[in-house]
Structure formats: C-alpha cells, structure tokens
C-alpha cells in the first residue's frame, strides 16, 4: 500500500498547476470572502476529492491492467484510495483552518475558537461526500463517474423535496417535529455526524471493494 501511496503523492506533486490554482483561490477567498466556513469546506473538498483524480490517472491508457499486475490486491487498492482521500482531506482541512484563523485574526472578522468549531463541523460532511463519490468513480470511471455522483446528490435533493411536499399534503409540520425532538448539544451532534461519516466511509469502502473485485482489466 505504501508503494501506491507514494505513486499518488508523486502524481499529485507533478500537478503543480493544480496546487498553484488552489493556493491562488485560497488567497482570493481569504482576502475577499468573510465566510470562513466556505473557505474551509471548499479547500478541504478539493483536497479530499483529489483521490478521484488519482483513480482517473490510474485508468488512463489502460493503466489499471499493469497496476494490478504489480504486488497490489484489489482491496489494498481501495484501502489506499480511501487512505489517500483522508490524508489529503485532512491536510487541506488543517491548511484551510490555519489560513482561516490567520485571516480571521488579521481582518478581525472571526474568533479563532469559532473558526475551529466551524471547521470541526465541516470535516465529517466532507468525509460523507468522499464516501459517496469514490464508489461511483470506481464503478463508472472518469466523466461518467462524476455525472453519476452528481445524479445521486440530485436524487437526494429530489427525495428531500418529495418528503417535504408529502408532509405538506399530509399536513405534518416537519420543523415543529424537529423542534419537538430531544435537544442535543453541539458535541453530541458533531459526535453523531462523525460516527455517521465513519460508518458511511466503512460501508462505502466495502462497496468499493466489491466493485473492484468484479472489474476486469
């Protein structure tokens, strides 16, 4: 797995333009946008999803056939992709948190503690997105994978709208229902979201292993 990680890190380091662009966008966001949560979620999202690009690189020019003739198992490959996603997401999260804190302090727009709390709330959401997108990328690859992932996010919205409409028709007040639910503290909500993200990542990884085991190169 270490060999694969090195390969992906080397691939990433060769994409200098990508990182210059990210750095430039980060600087722009820090100097223009006041909303630190947007800066953190944007940069973390881009970083974590670089793992999808590495899947594309692997597939390019039938590269997977050679890759899987190396001492690499299909489940090891999947583990590496999730590991790389977490590593990239984690480092971009930390980087964006730091620049958001510096920006907040310099521009006096937000307190460091508030920014940290926001960043902690964002992290599991990024993990959930990662968990949703990797299996699609592995199953459909390239452009099709991205379209499929977007379609799923769209489908989730459609389901939410349908539930809302159905509740309207049935005269159920969803907001009131949520308000009447037992009150949870911030820690509990974040803890639950983290647990949900971890569970989703595990489920997503097992789906990805099943997808890879079926694949032929």
């Amino acid at each position: 797995m270490k060999g694969l990680l090195i390969k992906d890190i080397k691939l990433m380091l060769n994409q200098k333009k990508f990182f210059i662009t990210i750095g430039f966008i980060a600087l722009m966001l820090v100097s223009v946008v006041k909303d630190t949560s947007f800066i953190i979620s944007y940069i973390t999202f881009i970083g974590a999803l670089f793992t999808l690009s590495t899947i594309n690189y692997d597939e390019y020019d039938n590269g997977n056939a050679f890759l899987f003739s190396l001492p690499v198992t299909r489940s090891g490959y999947v583990a590496e992709k999730y590991g790389f996603g977490l590593m990239m997401g984690g480092s971009c999260w930390l980087f964006s948190l730091l620049i958001a804190i510096v920006s907040g302090e310099v521009r006096k727009t937000a307190a460091a503690w508030d920014i940290l709390l926001t960043a902690i709330e964002i992290f599991p959401v990024i993990l959930i997105l990662l968990a949703m997108m990797i299996p699609f990328q592995l199953k459909f690859g390239g452009e099709k994978g991205r379209i499929a992932a977007i379609a799923v996010v769209g489908a989730v919205f459609v389901v939410c709208i349908i539930v809302g409409k159905a509740a309207d028709i049935m005269e159920i007040d969803l907001i009131d229902l949520l308000n009447r639910m037992p009150k949870l503290g911030w820690e509990a909500i974040v803890g639950l979201t983290m647990a949900a993200a971890a569970a989703l990542l595990l489920l997503s990884a097992s789906i990805s292993v099943a997808i890879m085991k079926k694949k032929e190169f």
């Binding site: 590269g63 050679f66 003739s69 190396l70």
Partner: protein, 282 residues
C-alpha cells in the same frame, strides 16, 4: 512454475480454452495472430480477468488466491499497459522499492543509463521504444522468479531488441529456477530465446513443440500434384494448395529427406510453421 489446465474464458464472439505449462528454468513462447487469445491468456494468469473455468497455478498456488508476497515473485510486461504517463523514472523508483522488497535500485539505474532513458521526463513523452525498455527493466529489477512478458520488444529497433533479449538471457542465467513466458510477433526473438513454443489460434492451443525440434524437424515440402498423390501423408501436419501443386508441413523432415530425395524440402522457420498451421488444411 506455471501450469494452465483448460483455462476457459468466454466472450460474446470468442472463447479461449487453453492448457499449457512453463517449466522451471525454461523460457516458453506463446505465439499466435492478433486476437488469437495471447493477451487473454496473459490477463487470466495475472488475475486481471475472471476465468469461466479451468485452473491457473503458479508456484503451486491458484493465481486467484495470490497475495502481495506471491505477486512479488512475478515480473510483468503488458503490451498495452504500463506506468502512468504522468510519472517519470525518478518517481517510479520509490514506488518499485516499496512494492518489491528485493528491488535492486543500482541494477535498475545502471540499465536506465545503459539504455539512455531520461529520468526526469514524463513517461507519456517517451518514444514507444523507450517505454518498452522501461517496462522490461522494471520487470527484471526485483529478482522475480517468473516473468510474464506480453510483446516486450514491440516498437524496438533491431539493436535495442538484441540488447533486451540479452538482458533476458542474463536474467535466466543468474538463477537456475527462473522462468519466462513470453509472447512476441517477432518470431526471430522467440527462436533465439525460447526453449519451447505454444501456438494459439482462435482460442485453442494448436501446437506445442520444443524450439530445437521445431527448427530441426519441421519442414515444408513443395510438391506438384502427382508427387502429392504419391506422398506418404502420415507425417504431414498441414497441406495447402498452391499454383505449383501443394505445400506440406511435416514434423519429420528426415523421413521425407530419406524417402523422397527428389522433393523440394525447405527448413521450416517459426513464421512458416505458424502460417501453415493456421492457413493449411489438416
């Protein structure tokens, strides 16, 4: 070293049913036309495709149960696939070193220099020949026990091809029990390197012979129609109608040399044997 028993892979318009063996210390060649089943066989050996039947064992173990450790004993070249074109040679050294505990960096770098491969140029910018050289070097630099080489000399000029074949001979001489399974459309490569040859056609093995026997005992008989009528056909493998009469392929050259001294008998090259086995009638 490698044993394939009735490996079956079915596609919509093609079925592979192949049995073959690569013995320890031997170089075995797999020859056949494009689409005959060579690459499918290689892919099944490497577990890249799921087989529909049969057994593929390497080092006494089913290849579908191969662990990372088992795969480290293989060195692989695939004709249509290689390292990501976005990497350069400097990038792949630590990758190989971490994938193979026995990766010999000094040997690899020495060969890279010998073949004049640029270390900081992206592989996608390499010429076809440079890519072919890199693939072979990566396959032989970690003391593999078995090399699986699908068209390793494709795109190489004569000099580079000879150099690579020399590397493969050195690889075989370094340890006694090493083996190679190789396919190539350049029969000269196979004649000079292989101990035995398998010929695959339309998904089936139609010939298996030691290379020495093939080159010494196989021959083409050029006969006119009346000579053909009188010919003892018990050692004729294939015959083909020609403008002058018939061309016949035999694996008993001496028999016809002794009994039909008037007949034109030409030494069979691998290319001619392939052509006759495929185009001739049984």
């Amino acid at each position: 070293m490698l044993r394939i028993e009735h490996l079956v892979k079915k596609y919509e318009d093609f079925t592979l049913d192949c049995s073959m063996e690569v013995r320890p210390g031997c170089v075995t060649g797999l020859i056949g036309q494009n689409g005959a089943g060579k690459s499918t066989t290689f892919k099944a050996i490497l577990g890249l495709i799921h087989r529909d039947g049969g057994k593929v064992e390497a080092f006494g173990k089913d290849v579908e149960e191969f662990t990372v450790k088992d795969k480290q004993k293989l060195g692989v070249v695939l004709s249509d696939s290689g390292f990501s074109g976005y990497l350069n040679i400097h990038d792949i050294i630590p990758v190989l070193a971490n994938l193979y505990g026995t990766f010999d960096k000094d040997f690899f770098m020495k060969q890279v220099q010998r073949f004049g491969l640029p270390t900081d140029k992206k592989i996608k910018e390499f010429s076809t020949g440079m890519k072919a050289k890199l693939k072979v070097l990566a396959a032989i630099s970690h003391r593999a026990k078995l090399l699986i080489l699908d068209e390793p000399t494709v795109g190489l000029d004569v000099v580079a091809r000879d150099e690579l074949l020399e590397l493969l001979r050195d690889f075989m001489e370094a340890e006694e029990d090493r083996s190679i399974l190789i396919s190539s459309h350049i029969s000269g490569d196979l004649e000079s390197l292989c101990d035995d040859l398998y010929m695959v056609h339309e998904g089936k093995i139609i010939l298996h012979e030691d290379t020495d026997v093939l080159l010494s005992d196989y021959a083409l008989l050029k006969v006119n129609s009346s000579q053909y009528e009188k010919l003892d056909k018990q050692y004729i493998l294939r015959h083909k109608k020609e403008s002058f009469g018939y061309t016949c392929l035999t694996n008993q050259k001496r028999y016809y040399l002794e009994n039909y001294p008037q007949t034109v008998i030409e030494k069979g090259s691998v290319d001619e044997v392939i052509a006759m086995m495929i185009r001739g009638e049984a």
